[in-house]
C-alpha cells in the first residue's frame, strides 16, 4: 500500500499534528497546578506522547469487522492458517509500517515537542513490555468479540464502529488518563477490560500506577476474554460466515 504513493505519509503527519495539539492542551490544564490525580505535567505529557506513538497496539483493530462485512472471511477460512493468526499477523505487518513512518519520527521529535520520552525507571520499562503484550492480547480478544457481535446482531459495521471507537477511546484512557477523571470515576473505569488496553501500560511506563496490580488485572482480562471469545466464536462461527457471505 505504502509503496504506491508517498501521499500516504500525510496520514502520519496528521497524527503528529493531533499529538502536538493534545500536548498543548495538557500544558494549559496543568499550567496553574503542579499535580492532579497523582500525575504531574511531565508524566501526563509522556503518557500522551506514548499513547500517540503506540496508537495502534493500544487499540487493536485486526480488520475482522471489515472482512466480515465484505464477505472476505470465507476466503480467510480457506487459508491454511488459524483465523486469529491470520488477522494478527496482518495487523502486525501494518504496525511495522506505522512504526517506521510515524512512531519512530514521533519518538525522535519528542525533545522538540518538549516531552521526555523515557520511562520512569528501568523496571517500569521491563514491566511495560509485558503490559503492552497483554494489552494486545486483550485488544485482539475484544476485536473478535466485536466481530461476533456484528454477526449476531446482523447490523452494519459503521454504526457499531463509531460507537466502539468513541467508547474505547474514552474508557481506555488513551486520550484522558483515567486518574484525571472527576468524581473518582477513573478508579472503577480501571477495572473494566478497556482499562487494560491503554491505561495500564501507559501508567506503568510513566510510573503512575502499581505495576504488579495492573499486570494482574490485565492478565485476568486477557485470560477471561480469550476463553469467552473462543466460546463465542464456536457458537457464532456459522453465523459469521453466513453474515459475511
Amino acid at each position: 500500500m505504502l509503496g504506491e504513493n508517498p501521499l500516504f505519509l500525510l496520514t502520519y503527519l496528521l497524527r503528529l499534528l493531533r499529538l502536538a495539539a493534545l500536548l498543548a492542551v495538557w500544558r494549559a490544564v496543568f499550567a496553574a497546578r503542579g499535580q492532579a490525580g497523582g500525575l504531574d505535567v511531565e508524566q501526563v505529557l509522556t503518557y500522551t506522547l506514548l499513547a500517540g506513538i503506540l496508537a495502534e497496539p493500544l487499540n487493536c483493530r485486526t480488520g475482522l469487522d471489515r472482512s466480515l462485512w465484505e464477505g472476505a472471511i470465507v476466503t480467510r477460512m480457506l487459508q491454511p492458517i488459524g483465523l486469529v493468526a491470520s488477522f494478527v499477523s496482518e495487523m502486525a505487518g501494518r504496525w511495522v509500517v506505522g512504526f517506521a513512518f510515524c512512531s519512530l519520527p514521533m519518538l525522535l521529535l519528542a525533545p522538540w515537542l518538549g516531552v521526555d520520552p523515557w520511562p520512569a525507571s528501568g523496571a517500569a520499562a521491563a514491566w511495560f513490555g509485558l503490559s503492552l503484550a497483554l494489552a494486545v492480547v486483550v485488544g485482539v480478544a475484544l476485536d473478535f468479540l466485536y466481530g461476533a457481535a456484528i454477526a449476531v446482531l446482523k447490523t452494519d459495521i459503521w454504526m457499531l464502529d463509531g460507537m466502539r471507537s468513541a467508547v474505547a477511546l474514552l474508557l481506555s484512557g488513551a486520550v484522558v488518563p483515567l486518574a484525571l477523571m472527576p468524581w473518582g470515576m477513573g478508579r472503577w473505569m480501571q477495572w473494566l477490560p478497556f482499562g487494560a488496553l491503554a491505561s495500564a501500560p501507559l501508567q506503568i511506563y510513566t510510573g503512575a500506577g502499581d505495576a504488579p496490580t495492573l499486570l494482574a488485572l490485565q492478565a485476568f482480562w486477557a485470560t477471561a476474554l480469550c476463553l469467552f471469545g473462543r466460546r463465542v466464536w464456536r457458537v457464532t462461527r456459522e453465523r459469521m460466515v453466513s453474515y459475511g457471505g
Binding site: L2, G3, E4, N5, P6, D156
Partner: protein, 345 residues
Amino acid sequence: MHRSDRADIPASGIVVECRAVCKTFRQRQPSERPRDVLRNLLHPRFRTVEALRDVSFTVNRGEVVAYAGPNGAGKSTTIKLLSGMLAPTSGSVRVLGIDPVAERTRYVGRIGVVFGQRTELWWDHPVAASYEWKRVVWDIPRERFERMCGVAREILGVGETWNTLARELSLGQRMRADLGMAMLHEPEILFLDEPTLGLDVLAKRSMTRLVRQLSATGSVTVMVTSHDMNELEQLAGRVIFIESGSLAYDGDFAGLRREFGDLRRLVLETDDATAPTLPGAELVGSQGMRHEYRLRGAGADVAALSAGAGEQCRVLDVETHRAPIDEVIAGIYEHWGRQRPTGTA
C-alpha cells in the same frame, strides 16, 4: 411496449457514431521488491495502455448489436465512453446526436446502462424503494412508471421480489431487477455490459426475452457485451469484435464464421472403435464407435470423406453440424494470441 409518449423519436437513422476513437490510460507498475520501496514512492514506473485504438463504427436505431472481444479488449471502456462516463483521448463519440460527456445530464436521461457486476439498487431497501427512487431522480411520469413496472414484473418476474431487500436477492433476481429498473424511463438506447455474467439458464432466458421484445419494437437500440457467444448470436443480428483495443470485425455472425473459419463437425458412427483416418478432417474424439471430426472451411467434401471412411470400416450413420459459435471464437482468440507480440498491454 407502448412508446406513445416518445413520438418525437425518429424511427430510423444512426444513433451511435464512433469516429477514430482512441483511449489511453496510464498504469502504475510498482515493484514488489522491498529494496524498491523508495523508488516506488519517489519515481514510480508507469506504462501506457491503449484501451482503444482508432475504433470507428455506427449503430442504427433499433439494431441489437453484440459487442464482443476477449478480456481486456476494451469492451467496458467503450460502454463507458458511450455512457458519458469517459471522454475519448482522441476521436469523437456521438450518441443520439449528443456528445455524451459534454451534455451528460440531458443525454443519460435517454439511455439505460446495466453493468453486470454493479447494481443500481439500494442495498438495504426493497426493490420497490429503488424503483421509486429512480422515478423521482429520473422524473418519470407516473403513467410510464406504472406501465414499465408492469413490464418488469411480467417479463422479468420482478414482482416476486418486489418487497425483498436488494441485499437478499440472488444474483439472477438482482440482475433482473436491475434490468427492469434500467428500463423504467424507456431509454432509447440500452447499453448492457455483461448482463448475464454468473446467471443461470432461466435468468439468462428472461433477459434474452426482454431484449428480443425490445428489439421487436424497432425503436430501442441495444448494445450488449458478453462472453457467452451463443447468447449473443441468439440476441443480436450484428456483432462488433474488438481485440487489443482495435476493431477486428463488424458484421453478422454468418460472416464471422466465414471470415474466421466455418468450423463444421462430421460425426461418423461405424462398426469399429478405431476411428478411420480422414485426410482433410481432424479427429476431435471418439465415444465408443462414434467418431467426431473437425472440418475446416465450407468446401470440405462430406460425401468423399464418408466414402473414404467406408473403405476403412462400415459406416452406419453420418451427421454434420456447425461447430458452436464459442468454438469459432476460441479459434479466433487463439489466433490473435499467437499473433500478439509478448509484453504488450
